[in-house]
């Protein structure tokens, strides 16, 4: 799995390191240092994935993300040096596909890029059944089973799991889940999602202290394990 990756980072050393590292993994790479150049390059070169650093000088990462989103279908992975989760949530809610925190190793980054590329391929395929490990989610029949055993979920539980499944491998924020599953009025009450996820885990036989399917993204939300990540 390979493709075009646009690196947006104002540090020349970082640009050089990523260009080298990603080329070794068969990606085509271009790098720019500002948000304005990123928007121009995204339109002209049509990358598959954009690595967007949030701490850009001038037009900052969020403004760049907003400018990119309507014109490009590329997956956007937000890169930030800040451990603060607010930025991650803001970026995900603004349409980013994933985030990585600096510093990171090349292998980790490559795994994230491949996951985004795979999801882009999956979305176009439009699979009716989403399978991760021995968990099957049949979207056409609205049925969920673990290892062939059918699991009865309430409508709310199913909707939440379905939304995570449609974005398997991608972190989904509490806000997005609350808006998609409950509606605008529920946004802000994170204990809703925590409670329903706990119920789903119980029914799926998933240990909350060591979850296999629904993984916590601390400070952000949840992620349904990507199909390939399970052994």
């Amino acid at each position: 799995l390979s493709g075009r990756v646009l690196v947006v980072d104002d540090e020349v050393e970082m640009q050089r390191a990523l260009r080298t590292g990603l080329r070794y993994h068969d990606f085509e790479v271009r790098a720019v240092g500002t948000g304005e150049d990123a928007v121009r390059e995204a339109a002209a070169w049509r990358p598959d994935v954009i690595l967007l650093d949030l701490g850009l000088p001038g037009m900052d990462g969020f403004a760049t993300l907003r400018a990119l989103r309507p014109t490009t279908r590329a997956g956007v992975i937000v890169v930030s040096v800040m451990p603060g989760e607010k930025d991650k949530v803001r970026a995900l809610d603004a349409g980013a596909d994933d985030y990585v925190v600096k510093p990171f190793g090349t292998d980790e980054l490559v795994a994230r890029i491949r996951a985004v590329l795979r999801r882009q391929a999956d979305v176009s395929a439009g699979e009716p059944v989403i399978r991760t490990g021995d968990l099957d989610i049949d979207l056409a029949r609205r049925s969920v089973s673990v290892g062939g055993r059918v699991v009865k979920l309430t409508p709310t539980e199913y909707e939440l799991l379905r939304y995570l499944a449609l974005h398997a491998g991608k972190p989904v924020t509490h806000t997005t889940l609350l808006r998609q599953v409950w509606g605008e009025y529920a946004v802000g009450d994170k204990y809703n999602t925590r409670y329903v996820v706990a119920q789903i885990r119980k029914k799926l036989g998933d240990d909350p202290a060591n979850p296999r399917y629904i993984v916590n993204e601390p400070g952000v939300g949840y992620r349904l394990t990507a199909p390939d990540a399970l052994g």
Binding site: M14, P103, Y195, A209, P218
Partner: protein
């Protein structure tokens, strides 16, 4: 002299009326001329009250008896009709005196009240117009000492743990201590307020010490003379105390708002400095790690020993990153930035921590003793997550090969008690407290920050953390607050 004047007028009046009656009765034969005395007594009663009226009526009776009642020229009273006249005169004197007296008293009370109201109105308007509450309080103190019997009226502000005289002149250190005591214990000393009036309640009225009256945000220090001042003055004093209470409260509200703004601004500044520091320190490490790990790819075509060297270097860069991250986390905690608390299940926190540490815990036996029905805790998810990862990493370092790590929790009334245990070597008894000190470490390569951070996070949540040696090995126990509302739906 002044008090005797009405009596002199009464007697002079009786003499004058007697002369007038005498003058009239020599010319005309008019019955019932003694009724003129009634007019006199009525006028005396209405003007000066009971005493002069009674004096006038007695004088009138004696003069009438002497000059007009036969035998003229003597004070002898013969028939019951003369007694009757005396009784009528006295009764009229008493009744009119009483009536007039109470009328006058009502009137003077109304006038005093009106004066009070005017004074209060003027003071309150001045206080509200004045942007500086202290100036209004000074005005108020000045007004208070103009009252009869009030020789001192000082206000002491009590806010944010400081005690300071605010208006009405100097307050000695001893008096400040007394004021503080009165404020903290909500007990007045030497005075009481009832029905809006201030009352002296001193056992030794001659004692020279001032009285202390605690208010919402301060204390009024007063000296009221023992010769009890007028009730209207005490009422006025009560009203002034009430106004002072309001003004002190307003002053405190203004100060609190200013303080909050100050804190907010300094919090924002601290957060901005820390985030820019974080950026400056981490960006070079990010480039290092990206470059070093790029070259370990097989496509780079390096020799195995070269790849190994690069991996070692990347390990060092990661270590540096951890150290910088821990220092920044510690600075953030020391800056006292707000926690973002929310209800969350403890099992979720443990799950997240174990998931993050999964690569390091591959060959470990991790057992969990966490009940399914534990109530949620009210904590900052990320900060407490850091406590758990730090404690589990610490346990992982010390547990022997193939050893065990246990994480457990139980809830009591208002808190959750959690622990992380391993079956590694015991901690020296002297070190049980020291392990939480900044930069203290048992390991040659440890940063000495992990447990210090854990302690600070737990304490920021109002909990405690301690280390102990159990039979199986060292255990770290900490407490967390439970969510206020049992969230279940």
């Amino acid at each position: 002299m002044r008090r005797l004047a009405p009596y002199a007028v009464a007697i002079a009046g009786a003499v004058a009326v007697t002369a007038a009656i005498g003058l009239v009765s020599t010319r005309f034969q008019v019955p019932g001329l003694s009724a003129f005395y009634l007019l006199l007594v009525l006028w005396l009663g209405a003007t000066w009250g009971r005493g002069p009226a009674v004096a006038g009526s007695i004088a009138a009776f004696l003069l009438y008896d002497f000059y007009f009642v036969p035998p003229v020229g003597t004070f002898t009273v013969r028939g019951p009709s003369e007694f009757f006249e005396l009784i009528v005169l006295l009764a009229v004197a008493l009744v009119t005196g009483q009536l007039a007296g109470s009328l006058r008293r009502t009137q003077s009370a109304a006038e005093a009240l009106a004066a009070d109201e005017r004074a209060m109105y003027e003071l309150a308007t001045a206080a509200l117009r004045s942007p500086e509450v202290t100036a209004a309080l000074s005005l108020l103190s000045e007004r208070a000492v103009r009252l009869n019997g009030v020789s001192r009226f000082a206000l002491v502000a009590m806010d944010f743990g400081t005690t300071a005289p605010l208006a009405g002149g100097e307050v000695s250190a001893d008096e400040l201590r007394q004021a503080k005591w009165a404020y903290e214990n909500r007990r007045a000393i030497g005075v009481a307020v009832s029905d809006g009036a201030v009352k002296l309640v001193r056992t030794h009225p001659e004692a020279a010490e001032p009285a202390y009256l605690p208010l919402a945000s301060g204390v009024a220090v007063m000296k009221i003379d023992a010769g009890h001042p007028d009730p209207s003055d005490l009422r006025m004093l009560g009203a002034l105390v009430g106004l002072a209470d309001l003004l002190l409260d307003r002053r405190r509200a203004v100060l609190e708002a200013e303080r909050a703004r100050g804190f907010e601004a300094s919090d924002r500044l601290k957060a901005a400095i820390l985030s820019s520091l974080s950026h400056e320190l981490k960006s070079p490490i990010a480039s290092l790690r990206a470059g070093l790990t790029a070259l370990t790819a097989p496509q780079a075509g390096l020799q195995p020993e070269q790849q190994e060297l690069l991996r070692d270097l990347d390990g060092q860069a990661s270590r540096l990153d951890r150290l910088v991250g821990d220092m920044l986390a510690l600075s953030r905690l020391e800056a006292g930035l707000e926690l973002e608390r929310e209800p969350i299940r403890f099992a979720d926190l443990v799950g997240t921590a174990l998931h993050q540490l999964r690569p390091d815990l591959k060959d470990r036996d991790v057992t969990l003793e966490i009940d399914d029905d534990l109530p949620p805790v009210e904590v900052d998810e990320l900060q407490v997550g850091r406590v758990l990862t730090n404690l589990i990493e610490n346990a992982n370092e010390w547990a022997p090969a193939g050893g065990r790590i246990a994480v457990g929790a139980s809830a009591s009334e208002d808190r959750l008690t959690a622990w992380v245990e391993n079956d590694g070597p015991a901690i020296a008894p002297n070190d049980l407290d020291r392990v939480f000190e900044t930069f203290w470490t048992r390991r040659a390569r440890g940063s000495g920050l992990g447990l210090a951070i854990a302690k600070r996070v737990v304490e920021a949540h109002g909990g405690t953390i301690r280390a102990e040696n159990r039979r199986r090995g060292p255990r770290f126990t900490f407490t967390l607050p439970l969510a206020r509302v049992a969230a279940s739906r």
